[in-house]
Homo-oligomer: 142 residues x 2
DNA sequence: TATGCTATTGCAAAAATTTGCAACAAATCT
DNA sequence: AGATTTGTTGCAAATTTTTGCAATAGCATA
């Protein structure tokens, strides 16, 4: 469970506006503790904020992704959103059993340093979905 | 330009079937030399294979992705497909100027080795989209 | 608190993607 | 070549996601 109440006020300084819709969606994401689809949000909204339009949900989710407040990724064929935690994480996804495990961001520090040094690219590895074969499935296939 | 004619016969040994639709779609992908959307394929098909159904295109693209014959990724908000080359590559995408550059797979060898050793996970980093800020935009923002 | 600017929303229509099912056809075996 | 099996396709309907535009509402300023 994630109780952190997201700080929306700072987006005002960026020239954007704090709206009830944005507050609702970000809070909804923060309350969920895993990956959430746009449809999930819409269904929650049906009860708690029935006037909230679907198009707005997609636009706001996209808006938050642009600010790195939310991550968006394609996991197991579904597009999922997640409130971006202080400590970034990623996922290992097995192509066989579809199992999804968490991978700490620390594993990407070396690569990030290299990309910055060699390519001048300041990468933020935000919520990557890495596909492959897990240990269990690999054993079975041998 | 990619002239390689994909070998579809081996999928027969996997229990799948070689159909004109699959041949057409894989060839169409191989002929394009960049990222291609499902709609691109559909429009090509309108001329060369008008009976090819949209649903089939999505199913076949998904089928090829499952076999790692094709990569699928979300780049700049668009879902793009690409005939999987012998030498895997990835992309660095700037959040500011949206510029997309190519990153060789060699950069992921160390990480892959680590994941295999530490997590028993045999990762195939196929066509990752890495977001961040390019050198040019980073300079401007300082 | 009232005013003005314009970012954002709701709405409806368009576009993209998925799904169930019956008809079809690729592969295998007589 | 004909029969059989069952993986695939086309079709149409259901979902999901995007887009243009007029109306709305943040919020800065006075
Ligand atoms: Mn996650
Ligand atoms: Mn590519
Ligand atoms: Zn597995
Ligand atoms: Zn840039």
């Amino acid at each position: 469970m994630n109780n952190k109440i997201p700080d929306l006020t700072h987006i005002r300084e960026l020239g954007f506006r704090v709206t009830p819709q944005r507050r609702f969606i970000l809070n909804a994401l923060a309350k969920q503790d895993g990956h959430t689809t746009a449809t999930d949000i819409y269904q929650i909204a049906q009860k708690e904020m029935p006037t909230l339009n679907q198009a707005t949900i997609y636009r706001v989710l996209d808006f938050f992704c642009g600010l790195n407040l939310v991550t968006r990724s394609d996991i197991g064929g579904r597009v999922v959103y997640e409130f971006a935690p202080d400590t970034p994480h990623h996922h290992l996804i097995c192509r066989h059993c579809e199992q999804v495990t968490v991978l700490d961001d620390a594993h990407f520090e070396d690569l990030a340093a290299h990309l910055l040094a060699e390519h001048g690219f300041k990468a933020d590895f935000n919520h990557l979905a890495i596909y492959g074969v897990c240990a269990h499935c690999w054993d079975k296939s041998m």
